[in-house]
């Protein structure tokens, strides 16, 4: 396959940055998109050029570290998929692929395609836990949890924290990410004692980090690799009201 990559290159956070085009000839359809970038980097090294900095780790769609904007969509042309799961068979031979970093004020660019998503960690830091210490747990079956409740918590808990929701949102809203975590923990009896404070603290931090408002465009749930539903955001809003009244 022959592919032209048009990639955003930016030396550092304060660099202006711009697009660079690279033509790569010997790709195969079996290659994953990231392997194609690996291949491009090997070519660059042999040409004595600096490699394109991009993120990855597990390359099986679960760690959430990879993520770039590919041809105008977070994680590429398919719905509910991570960048590492994307394969070159999804592109036509001879195509030009535009690759951009996640864009959001709260995700500043570190280099090339790598952004800083530590804002997510700080949202987690502010309440996305159950503050029971190691060693204090009661017998696991002592609290029965219906399958429905447990399954719904799991649906929300599946978030991999990749940031595609923020990247694709025209407002860079982190509502999907935040709501998924809130609904996971507040949906379970173990999370109940701190439920109200958790909603208030986490949403406050989300705002402090400079994320935008949720307009319910629904783009996030389409790009979310785990298919987390935007109904979670509505539920978070309800929990917020409840926390304001009873919290």
């Amino acid at each position: 396959m022959k592919i032209t990559f048009k990639i955003w290159r930016q030396e550092g956070p304060n660099d202006k940055g711009g697009f660079q085009s690279y033509e790569v000839n010997d790709l195969t359809e079996d290659m994953s998109f990231l392997e194609a970038l690996d291949h491009l980097n090997e070519i660059l090294v042999l040409k004595n050029k600096k490699v394109v900095a991009f993120e990855y780790d597990c390359r099986e769609g679960i760690c959430g570290q990879c993520g770039v904007f590919i041809n105008g969509r977070a994680h590429g042309p398919h719905d509910n998929m991570t960048t590492c799961q994307l394969h070159m068979r999804s592109f036509e031979d001879g195509a030009t692929i535009t690759v951009e970093p996640w864009r959001a004020r709260s995700f500043p660019i570190i280099k090339d395609l790598i952004v800083n998503r530590s804002a997510f960690d700080r949202i987690i830091e502010n309440g996305a836990f159950i503050s029971a210490k190691t060693g204090t747990a009661p017998e696991a079956n002592a609290i029965l949890i219906s399958k429905t409740v447990s399954d719904r918590a799991m649906d929300a808990a599946a978030c991999i924290g990749c940031g595609a929701c923020v990247a694709t949102c025209k407002n860079s809203s982190a509502a999907l990410f935040t709501s998924a975590k809130i609904n996971h923990l507040n949906g379970l009896p173990q999370g109940a004692p701190e439920a109200h404070q958790r909603v208030l603290d986490m949403t406050a931090q989300m705002e402090k980090e400079g994320f935008g408002h949720c307009s319910f465009t629904g783009a996030c749930e389409v790009e979310c690799p785990e298919g987390i539903s935007i109904v979670n955001i509505a539920e978070m809003n309800a929990r917020f009201i409840k926390a304001k009244i009873f919290g």
């Binding site: 050029k49 597990c58 390359r59 959430g64 570190i110 836990f129 190691t134 029965l144 799991m154």
Partner: protein
């Protein structure tokens, strides 16, 4: 040096309690004055960091990823074992202990393995409390499923994302302590060397992966929780960033490396499809609960799977191991697959795979039930291969996976360097020569949450009396200069081949001669080949960019340099062990029908290697079986 595992006195079931009773304690006011470095933020690292912080220690935790939540524990799919006996099927701590010991082919310590089983039940309680949404019955109780090498149902799971859910719980707990200012989290930070002062681990040199700056951190103890090293094979189920560098640096500073050749090849990964491939995706072993593994009876059969009639299929696991069938342990299932593939029955374009078929399970339970159990795995399979596994069998192939070997640790999880601990996959402790499925999350968690926080005090209690060294200590200077020289040396080679090129070469040698089956000639040849690769690497590698910047190519190269050295040690270890046990299969030691032959009278020991200026010296920790008699490991 005589290796003393410091196994406590008493009956097997009393040992851990006896240990805790006798170990030294530190009062809360003093804990505040003590600081601990934890390298790695996976289940063991995050668990240890959070728990130690809850106890009052001052913690610095490091990870190379952009967030602690990315650690590779996240990728474990199938589940976590615990001897809860919720299924009322005859499970007990003793049975779990025995299964694990037998699964490891009697090459681990009884006391450690028993403790693992003993602490498994409270661990499930802990995770449930932390909000892990484990699968539930309609009545609200927890569900279990079966896993390989075991005849009871003791595996707890959260869909196909158990590792992720456990890690998120650990990560949450870690960040709770970050908020309490008891943990300082250093992301995108890689440990480059260990600092040992007067024989005690006192700090580390860290490279900030964004700026490339080297930093010094000092503490009263150092805990390594850096995971496995199977990326030495290049193609593995591990994350691309997983590396053996931290433990390798520790090894070079005096920590013995135990059983490096004990690496597990997982039977159910997706087959390699091209040379450029960077990773082999794992499909959970849990699939073998309902999926049946087969190959065509006819060699080089070109028909598509669904066109091959039942009587022309060879369900070789069921044929060879009737009592465990498709749930034979991993080493055995992998080897059986390799045997069939080598005999010309492999399927797929490169003839390197076997079928994993759900046809019968779907006929029996319906598509919905199968989707409930494995839905996300089927979706993942489709995303990667483009094939719908509900209608066509999956194609799977063995892939390098877990490393049972690692830094040698005693019962307290301390390495041979005082004050240096190794927890989780990076140590050698509980799994022996082969790890059972769903025991990895368990070991990592138990080490981090329950064991280390109860053993580290025994060491720190003395350290409170001694002054913590300054970061300007000469040993820090030396270590930092060493790292700087090392990095500069890699950059200065300026050769003609990429780091990935050498990694592919190394991977090929390791996979051919030091993976599923090994022999003397092959291993000797491999050692020479790797020596060659090492020479070529240091004379011909090309890394662009600089050291003082974010440089992913440089990271690859310096991690690879350690892998090359580790590869040599792995081959030496495999060569030395003239027997077949667990995942270590020496072709010279097998029965007529291809089963492993253990040589107990000579090899009932843990090999522990000492590093000495490029040479490795073998030490042996003899394994005493006081409570269980090693038997021939049969799953027939």
């Amino acid at each position: 040096m005589v290796l003393d595992a410091k196994i406590p006195e008493g009956k097997l079931e009393d040992k851990w309690r006896n240990y805790q009773i006798q170990s030294k304690l530190i009062n809360p006011a003093n804990k505040k004055k003590l600081s601990v470095i934890v390298v790695g933020s996976g289940l063991s690292g995050a668990g240890a960091a959070a728990t130690l912080a809850e106890l009052g220690y001052d913690i610095h935790c490091f990870c190379y990823q952009d967030s602690a939540r990315r650690a590779h524990s996240v990728a474990a799919q199938g589940g976590i074992n615990a001897a809860k006996n919720y299924q009322h099927d005859g499970d007990s701590i003793w049975r779990m202990f025995y299964d694990t010991l037998k699964g490891g082919d009697f090459r681990s310590r009884e006391a450690n393995t028993y403790r693992l089983a003993e602490l498994s039940a409270p661990l499930i309680d802990h995770y449930t409390q932390q909000g892990v949404p484990f699968a539930r019955e309609y009545g609200g109780t927890l569900v279990n499923r079966s896993f390989g090498g075991v005849q009871v149902q003791r595996t707890f799971y959260a869909r196909g994302q158990t590792g992720q859910q456990l890690l998120l719980a650990a990560y949450s707990q870690l960040y709770k302590m970050v908020r309490s200012k008891k943990v300082t989290m250093h992301t995108r930070s890689e440990m480059m060397d260990l600092v040992v002062i007067d024989g005690k681990a006192k700090g580390i040199i860290v490279r900030d992966l964004i700026t490339g700056e080297l930093q010094r951190y000092v503490a009263d103890a150092v805990v390594l929780a850096t995971g496995g090293y199977s990326r030495v094979f290049r193609l593995s189920t591990l994350a691309i960033g997983c590396n053996g560098s931290a433990i390798w640096k520790a090894h070079k500073k005096g920590a013995y490396f135990a059983a490096p050749s004990f690496t597990q090849i997982h039977p159910t990964a997706l087959p390699q499809s091209s040379e450029a491939q960077s990773k082999l995706t794992l499909m959970s072993e849990s699939l073998r609960n309902d999926g049946r593994i087969w190959v065509p009876k006819k060699k080089d059969d070109t028909r598509v799977a669904n066109d091959i009639p039942e009587d022309e299929r060879d369900y070789y696991l069921e044929r060879r191991y009737p009592s465990f069938g498709n749930l034979a342990p991993r080493d055995i299932a992998s080897r059986a697959a390799k045997e069939r593939i080598d005999a010309g029955h492999g399927v797929g374009r490169l003839k390197n795979a076997v079928y994993l078929d759900f046809k019968h399970a779907i006929e029996r339970f319906g598509k919905q039930t199968i989707a409930d159990r494995y839905g996300n795995l089927f979706t993942m399979y489709k995303k990667i291969t483009g094939v719908d596994a509900y209608t066509k069998p999956m194609m799977i192939s063995p892939a390098a996976h877990f490393s049972m070997g690692g830094l040698w640790v005693d019962y307290e999880l301390m390495t041979t360097v005082s004050g240096l601990y190794a927890i989780g996959e990076c140590n050698f402790s509980d799994h022996g020569a082969n790890r059972l499925g769903a025991n990895s999350l368990l070991q990592a968690s138990v080490d981090g949450y329950f064991i280390l926080p109860n053993t580290i005090n025994n060491y720190l209690a003395q350290e409170i009396k001694s002054e913590r060294p300054d970061i300007h200590h000469v040993e820090f200077d030396k270590a930092e200069q060493g790292v700087k020289d090392y990095v500069d040396r890699i950059l200065s080679v300026d050769g003609t081949k990429t780091a990935d090129h050498f990694h592919r070469e190394l991977g090929k040698v390791m996979w051919n001669d030091c993976a599923m089956s090994r022999n003397k000639t092959g291993l000797e040849k491999a050692i020479n080949q790797i020596e060659d690769i090492r020479r070529q690497f240091w004379s011909d590698v090309k890394v662009t960019g600089e050291s003082k910047e974010l440089n992913t190519e440089l990271e690859k190269a310096y991690r690879l340099a350690d892998f090359i050295e580790l590869g040599i040690l792995m081959c030496k270890d495999a060569l030395q062990r003239e027997e077949s046990c667990g995942a270590h299969f020496r072709e010279e030691y097998q029965t007529e029908d291809g089963e492993a032959v253990r040589v107990d009278d000579q090899f009932t020991f843990v090999s522990a290697w000492d590093y000495d200026e490029g040479n490795f010296a073998l030490h042996k920790e003899s394994l005493e079986f006081e409570f269980v008699q090693p038997t021939v490991r049969s799953y027939k």
